[in-house]
């Protein structure tokens, strides 16, 4: 099956500023894909290239197997987009804006629209200029979620939403996932990405730093283990993959490369395990690892 989004070694410069510098991104059908990166990494630029607003300099970009620059309008029949910074028309009411975007996307289901307005507790009669940031976001979200499309492109869609509305949003994405839609979710909220996304791409300075399923990415990182054993464990010191070892009598704490978790646990087993906790790495740690590199590069 053709991937919904297929971007390979994408380059885009604005004058002398190199915004994208060999970016790769793939989103398969029915996949909820997390798109992570620090501010200014090129997430929004990538999305604008995908929408056909920007023309890329080099590399390939395919949306549903076609070139988004040449076939923008036709491809847009199959997608809905929520920008990171939603700006509405000051004199149009929220309801008018939702219906306008719906019509421009090729029609929306009024029942679904009304249900979403209700779920997001949006007052559709207010004028664009009087909405708060969160409410502007809701207008764009309702318009996008009510559209019958194959792909949703969401650029930091929950920034400005309160926790209750974030939960509603999470439910909506779960429903999309069940219905087999694809979602490209650019976000800073790692818990949200972790909760929703099957695969993630982490970018840095316009380049893909890491891409894969969460399980694959975790594989590359360390698990935190703390245990209490009957005897002082032997052979941990110097064992491959063990880091930051702290031994306090029969208690041990250490980090272990996830690859070597099995063999290290065997060592612990020989000492007789009483209690054991192990924490898989959070996405936050994955992210910080790359972001940390970024800081080092800069300094």
């Amino acid at each position: 099956m053709t991937p919904v989004v297929d971007v390979a070694s994408l380059h885009k410069s604005f004058g002398r500023v190199r915004a994208l510098d060999g970016l790769d991104l793939q989103v398969g059908p029915g996949e909820v894909h997390g798109f992570l990166g620090p501010n200014g990494a090129g997430k929004s630029t990538t999305i604008r290239v995908l929408l056909g607003l920007l023309r890329h300099d080099a590399g390939t970009v395919r949306l549903f197997g076609e070139d988004p620059w040449r076939h923008a309008a036709a491809l847009h029949r199959r997608l809905a987009y929520v920008p990171g910074d939603v700006s509405l028309w000051p004199t149009l009411s929220g309801g008018e804006t939702i219906d306008l975007l719906g019509r421009l996307r090729g029609g929306l289901d009024p029942a679904r629209r009304d249900a979403l307005v209700e779920r997001f507790e949006l007052d559709p009669t207010k004028k664009g200029r009087t909405y708060s940031k969160g409410n502007r976001q809701k207008v764009a979200l309702v318009a996008a979620l009510a559209a019958d499309v194959d792909l949703l492109v969401l650029d930091e869609p929950t920034s400005g939403l309160d926790p209750l509305m974030e939960a509603v949003f999470t439910d909506c994405v779960d429903e999309l996932k069940e219905a087999g839609r694809s979602v490209l979710l650019s976000s800073h909220i790692l818990a949200e990405v972790e909760r929703l996304c099957g695969r993630v791409t982490i970018i840095r300075a316009g380049r893909t730093a890491e891409s894969g399923t969460l399980a694959e990415l975790r594989h590359l990182t360390r698990t935190a283990v703390s245990a209490e054993t009957e005897r002082a464990p032997e052979g941990l010191e110097g064992a491959t993959g063990v880091h930051d070892l702290v031994v306090e009598g029969q208690r041990v704490r250490f980090q272990v490369d996830t690859d070597h978790l099995g063999s290290v646990l065997e060592l612990l087993g020989r000492a007789g395990i009483r209690t054991l906790t192990s924490q898989p790495p959070t996405l936050e740690e994955l992210f910080l690892r790359h972001y940390g590199d970024h800081v080092e590069d800069a300094s």
Binding site: R48, L53, A72, W89, R103
Partner: protein, 520 residues
């Protein structure tokens, strides 16, 4: 008053180029009148003869102001540049205030500033100080330029005081407008209407018995009689007017919430039936109506001068130069000039409307709109259609106003339809300037503001082309000059088609550019 100094410094830094252009432009306007008049009438005898032809010409009086001491260079400068100088400076004041108050509030940057150690009135005080400083500097430089040219000191100072005082009154009116509405666009609309009203009131007053001129700050400045009596007492009127309007603005400021005007936004419908085409009309209909009302009223005012225009002109050479009369009635010449002026005023709509494409990009709307099945071409066409239609409506409304005014004064009812139809022949000029804006938008999106330079150039050519004796290869760049001066000349298809073709070419080039470049 905490924060005023910091804000003022930041304004000066952000505006330094903009201020330079406005101030230099205004000073140049006055200075060039002095030089231009001397170049046209090399001897005092020529000047005196021209003055006799000008002095009782109501059409010219309506365009500029009361004719006094026209046999002197100073009198000519005050007469030709006085009203326009005030309008230019008043517009500068309006844009400065809008840029630092309303636009900041609309974008939310104002909130950021206010969250710092800045008092509630600091932004308004800083912006007002900026305007006062810019106006006073302009006034001083006008005096320096004119005295440097060799005009009397007293008259030059009176002229500059009138200019600054009048511009400050109109600026204070802009300050009030900005407390009333939530959008900078509406505030500009209200202020523009006030400036236009001040201009038209004095036009009608100057041609009539002069009473109406006293209701206009431009009239006060001209009542100071620079170079021809140097009266100081009308300047007293500026003080209560500026103080009163500024106090009103401050009272309103304290009575409203930051971020919302005194006129609160009303709730709208919960559902809508807008599409790509109806959207642009919906967003611009208020603007089309406002500009059409403006051109209609301007036409009405000039039309109401009726036949009196033709009574006294005689066959003065300069009157023929200015009005371009070609063997036809002087009234027709006046109407042709009025229609060209109406079309020029309509450029305010046509250019700002064409530049809404750029506004869609800056405002982030284009991202949302073009993420749908809407194509770039349709988005562009939907905008441009409203621009073209709105411009035509505004120009024809001005022609109808001219006809209605003329019919009311003379009883000649057929003038309404005739002048309404004549107005259509001036429409392509206003379209052509929108075409310039479109081509800039397509190829030089960061330089779209240059479209206004086109409007300014056409203004100079229309009002001063004959007086300054500009070479025809310069004046013919203006579409207003290229078109036949209907009704003074009969309609001719050649120039009309040429301007129309140039407009279409510019538009098409703009569309090609827009479909090829990065948007947003």
């Amino acid at each position: 008053m905490t924060g005023v100094g910091t804000l003022l410094r930041s304004h000066l830094r952000r505006d330094r180029w903009m201020l330079l252009w406005w101030v230099a432009g205004t000073v140049l306007l006055y200075w060039s009148q002095a030089v231009g008049t001397r170049a046209t009438y090399t001897t005092d005898a020529e000047l005196a003869e021209a003055a006799r032809a000008l002095v009782d010409n109501p059409a010219l009086v309506a365009m500029t102001g009361p004719a006094r001491a026209l046999d002197t260079i100073g009198g000519q400068v005050a007469w030709q540049a006085g009203a326009f100088g005030i309008i230019v400076l008043a517009l500068m004041n309006m844009f400065l205030l809008g840029r630092h108050l309303q636009a900041e509030e609309e974008s939310g940057r104002d909130e950021l500033v206010r969250s710092a150690a800045v008092s509630r009135t600091a932004p308004i005080v800083a912006a007002a100080l900026l305007v006062v400083a810019a106006d006073v500097v302009t006034g001083v430089l006008v005096v320096v330029a004119l005295v440097g040219y060799g005009l009397p000191v007293a008259g030059s100072v009176v002229l500059a005081v009138g200019l600054v005082g009048s511009a400050l009154v109109l600026g204070a009116a802009a300050l009030v407008a900005m407390q009333l509405t939530t959008s900078v666009r509406s505030a500009y609309g209200i202020t523009g209407a006030v400036v236009a009203a001040a201009y038209v009131l004095r036009a009608v007053g100057d041609v009539g018995d002069g009473t109406l001129s006293w209701f206009s700050p431009i009239g006060w400045a001209q009542a100071m009689w620079p170079y021809s009596g140097d009266r100081w007492w009308p300047a007293v009127l500026f003080v209560p007017a500026v103080a009163g309007l500024t106090s009103l603005a401050l009272v309103l400021l304290h009575r409203r919430d930051v971020g919302s005007g005194l006129w609160a936004a009303r709730p709208g419908p919960a559902t809508g039936r807008l599409g790509a085409w109806s959207l642009t009309w919906r967003l611009q209909r208020g603007s089309v109506l406002g500009w059409s009302l403006g051109t209609f009223l301007m036409g009405l005012a000039y039309g109401s001068l009726g036949d009196s225009v033709g009574e006294v002109v005689g066959d003065g050479e300069l009157a023929r130069d200015v009005l371009g009369v070609n063997g036809r009635d002087v009234v027709d010449g006046f109407h042709a000039t009025s229609l060209a002026m109406i079309a020029l005023l309509a450029c305010g709509f046509s250019v700002s409307s064409a530049l809404r494409l750029r506004g869609d990009e800056d405002g982030g709307h284009v991202e949302l709109l073009l993420s749908t099945t809407l194509t770039r071409r349709t988005w562009w066409l939907a905008h441009v259609l409203v621009t073209a239609a709105g411009t035509a409506v505004a120009v024809v409304a001005g022609g109808l106003g001219l006809g209605v005014g003329f019919a009311l004064t003379t009883g000649e009812g057929s003038a309404v339809g005739r002048l309404g139809l004549d107005a259509t022949t001036h429409v392509p000029a206003a379209w052509a300037l929108a075409g310039l804006a479109l081509v800039l938008h397509g190829w030089l999106p960061r330089a779209t503001v240059l479209a206004w330079a086109g409007v300014a150039g056409c203004t100079v050519v229309l009002f001063f082309g004959a007086l300054l004796d500009l070479p025809s290869r310069v004046t013919h760049l203006s579409p207003f000059e290229a078109l036949a001066r209907v009704p003074a000349e009969s309609w001719s298809a050649g120039p009309f088609a040429a301007v129309l073709a140039a407009t279409l070419l510019l538009g098409a080039a703009g569309l090609v550019g827009t479909t090829r470049r990065d948007l947003g």
